[in-house]
């Protein structure tokens, strides 16, 4: 019923508009088309000017009402994000000036040079000086923007520092999985055909590679980062293309099946800092999938906790390597020996992988 009413009102409104429009055409024929045309010309010229004023106010008002709902420039939570924010600021200033200038000229001239019998047009087909002016000025401004852009871009995409913490992040429909290299600092090898969720091997780790034995697997829980410590993400996907979107760090990198990618940055604010800064007690760093990946795309959400080194160490100490979990599952009978068996495995693993570090590193970064 409600739908029907809305529909009826729309139709009615349309019929009324149409009848008015038709009538106005008849009136214009009766009154003389030229006279009517001149009158509507004036009305439209005034409306253009009104639109300029209202529009510019609208721009201000949008900023006024939505300005505090966005990520404020200069408040990024990563070092690279600071550069991104700065680049946005420069670009905003340059394009903002052009926007206000050109829109004002466009609508003001439209109003000012509306048809008038007293004015004859100025025959002005071309002027090389003017053309040169508005080729060179934008070129200079753009050169500056490109210059800053490329310098910042190289800083963002340059090689990660040696001391960077490495974390592997894998996207699949519709979740994120993380892997830490464990104490040896090396990711064990993996192969996608080894993926076997029923047997606790969601990433397809090759257990024969001892570097895998201390790798820590985390899913359905936040990724933990240390404030002030560079982190290098090694990004992959199992099924379709996903994208690791980190709005608060102002960064993003696609996760492509078969082609690992990397992204590094240094978080500079802990989650607690951000809670204080935003005044939002529920604040949490979110990982948003930014590349259309199927029906559950909207819900492909991950979380990041940025904390101090001590907090991180504490958390890390509570994590168990995936390999140890498998050992436990394989030997449920020896339940009593659990707590001692797992570390033993870890120790031998470290001894074996000591000399394969370089190879494993090469493999895991994928370059």
């Amino acid at each position: 019923m409600q739908n029907f009413l809305i529909f009826a009102i729309l139709i009615l409104g349309f019929i009324i508009t149409f009848q008015i429009a038709r009538a106005s055409e008849f009136v214009s024929v009766i009154r003389g088309e030229e006279k009517t045309r001149k009158q509507t010309n004036k009305i439209n010229a005034i409306l253009l000017l009104v639109f300029l004023v209202v529009g510019m106010f609208g721009v201000y008002w949008t900023q006024h009402t939505l300005g505090d709902k966005i990520l404020k420039l200069g408040t990024s939570a990563s070092d690279h994000g600071i550069l991104v924010d700065r680049m946005i600021k420069y670009t905003l200033i340059a394009t903002g000036i052009v926007f206000v200038g050109t829109q004002t000229l466009l609508f003001w001239y439209s109003f000012k040079y509306q048809e008038s019998e007293t004015r004859s047009v100025y025959y002005f087909p071309h002027n090389n000086k003017l053309e040169l002016l508005w080729t060179v000025v934008p070129a200079i401004v753009l050169t500056i923007l490109i210059g800053f852009g490329i310098v910042y871009w190289y800083r963002i995409t340059g090689a990660a520092p040696e001391n960077a913490m490495q974390i592997e992040i894998t996207g699949s429909q519709f979740k994120w999985e993380f892997r830490y290299p464990g104490k040896d600092g090396v990711f064990g090898k993996k192969y996608y055909k080894n993926i076997d969720e029923a047997h606790d091997n969601p990433l397809g780790q090759i257990w024969e590679d001892a570097a895998n034995h201390d790798d820590i697997y985390v899913t359905q829980a936040p990724m933990h980062l240390v404030v002030g410590k560079p982190v290098k993400l090694i990004i992959g996907a199992k099924d379709v293309i996903h994208s690791v979107g980190l709005p608060h760090f102002r960064l993003k990198m696609d996760a492509v099946p078969g082609t690992p990618t990397t992204l590094w940055f240094t978080p500079i604010k802990t989650t607690k800092d951000m809670i204080k800064e935003t005044g939002n007690s529920k604040f949490v760093y979110e990982i948003a999938c930014d590349q259309m990946c199927g029906a559950g795309h909207t819900g492909m959400r991950g979380e990041i906790v940025v904390e101090t080194q001590e907090e991180f160490d504490q958390w890390m100490a509570s994590q168990k390597p995936q390999y140890a979990k498998i050992q436990e599952a394989a030997a449920p009978a020896a339940a009593t020996g659990d707590s001692t068996a797992a570390p033993a495995v870890k120790d031998t693993a470290r001894a074996v992988t000591a000399d394969t570090t370089a190879a494993a590193k090469k493999d895991s970064t994928g370059k």
């Binding site: 729309l10 010309n41 394009t95 080729t135 995409t157 999938c289």
Partner: protein, 601 residues
Amino acid sequence: MSDTLHIQHEVASHGHSGEPHVHHQKETFVSKYIFSMDHKMIAKQFLVTGIIWAIIGGLFSVLFRLQLGFPDQSFPILETFFGRWAEGGKIKPEFYYALTTMHGTVLIFFVLTAGLSGTFANLLIPLQVGARDMASPFMNMLSFWLFFAASIVMLSSLFTQTGPAAGGWTVYPPLSALGLASQGSKSGMDLWIIAMTLFVASQLLGGLNYISTILNMRTKGMSMTRMPLTIWAILFTAILGVLSFPVLLSGLVLLMFDRHLGTSFYLSDIFVAGQALPNEGGSAILYQHLFWFLGHPEVYIIILPTMGLASEILAINSRKPVFGYMAMIASLMAICVLAFLVWAHHMFVTGLNPFLGSVFVLLTLLIAIPSAIKVFNWITTIWRGNIRFTPAMLFAIGFVSIFISGGLTGIWLGNSTIDVHLHDTMFVIAHFHIVMGVSAFFGMFAGIYHWFPKLFGRYMNNTLGYIHFWVTLACAYLIFWPMHYQGMAGMPRRYLDKSSWVSFSQFHSLDAMITIATIIAFSVQLMFVFNYFYSMYKGRRVRSQNPWGATTLEWTTPIHPGHGNWEGEIPEVHRWAYDYGKDGRDFIPQTEPVGENESTH
């Protein structure tokens, strides 16, 4: 070069001079309205098909905006129409993504490429360069019917059991290659590829025809530098299309192979729906290179013709020559060349080599220069003019305003340092909807209002035209301007419900406002469609041959030109197309010889 072309055209025009008589033979309904070879009728066919597609594509956007604006509410009427796709009156995710994908595909390809170029290239090329018809009227007819076939196939994909393609209009594999990964990647995707294949064939036939007509069939005196800017714009559009559409086709053929023949062009190391696929060694990024090699020129294929239309309409209604004619051509050419060299700016965050990325930043931002030249030239064109605000002129001014707004955010996104944050967010949605969606529509509306008298010998209703313009302009800004803010909050595109997110759930009322504005904008477009069809039969009749006081050749034809356009000889051209307000005269038609005492420019 122009000399040789000049000779060619003379040969051509002599060869054709006897033709109009041939066409006076009896025309049947089929040969006149269906399998017509008259460029004007083909233009109308493209336009009407484009309008139908625009209504479908626009309606899709209204449907998914309902979901975005009112995610908690249910609309039982949706279930009535779409059954299990909207169970309980709520749009399912699969359906949502099918809607957005088809919205993009339909509007970008079927409306703003075929509907726009097909209409104005077919209508204006022969009329403005002074030719009796296209170089190959038969190929022209074939071009429309291939487009029509593509339309039928695409339309049929909407009715398959698993729904139409749903991986976004860019259909990136592996998502689009694997039926296991998405409902929309099953039979709907096959139909999508088949439809696009037919579409590419249609574009190639059309484009080759446009190029050869412009180069070879200009009337006597119509040197290249006397052509109206519309024709220049269409020429560059056609060149872009002919060079880039085949690359898309090759990309799609490989995708088809991956889907059905077990090849691994795009697939590698995939574990999906609980099983590991055998494919190894492919590159998902390869597809993106092939796709964007068309995909980026495609946005210029959409915007260049409207730049031409706007230039023409701004000059005519300002009663003043277009400013910097040669600079306008040069900037069109620069855009055309650069269009091929910037495709990877869509791929900054795919793991692209950073050095390559910086090269694409440079080339991308270079496009801002010719675009800036055009904007300043348009503004100078109306400066000290004597402006008549016809609905067409208003839409042309609106076009410039919208193009500025959308073009400037291109400087943001073309810079990889900003793109690494804003890529695939609502900011991108705002940017490209404004710069190539809305502004191209404004240019197209301007063109339709302006050349309607030539198409049908009648005017469209002015009052409805003014309402159409003002409401559309206001809604365009209301819908898309705030979306920049959603993007600046980091909100990704293609999210149908933000309630589970901490960072993106602060825009409820804004989304509702945008949805309401969308519904209003869509209703006003329906009013335009009504105005179009009503005026076709009942509009005010055109009484004078040259209702706008324009200089170009199409207004020297009879009010209802027959097949062959001119009765008797094709007029000879003596001057450029923009002698408005020269030596105290309102306008001087192109057909008037240059007087002895006339000033030169």
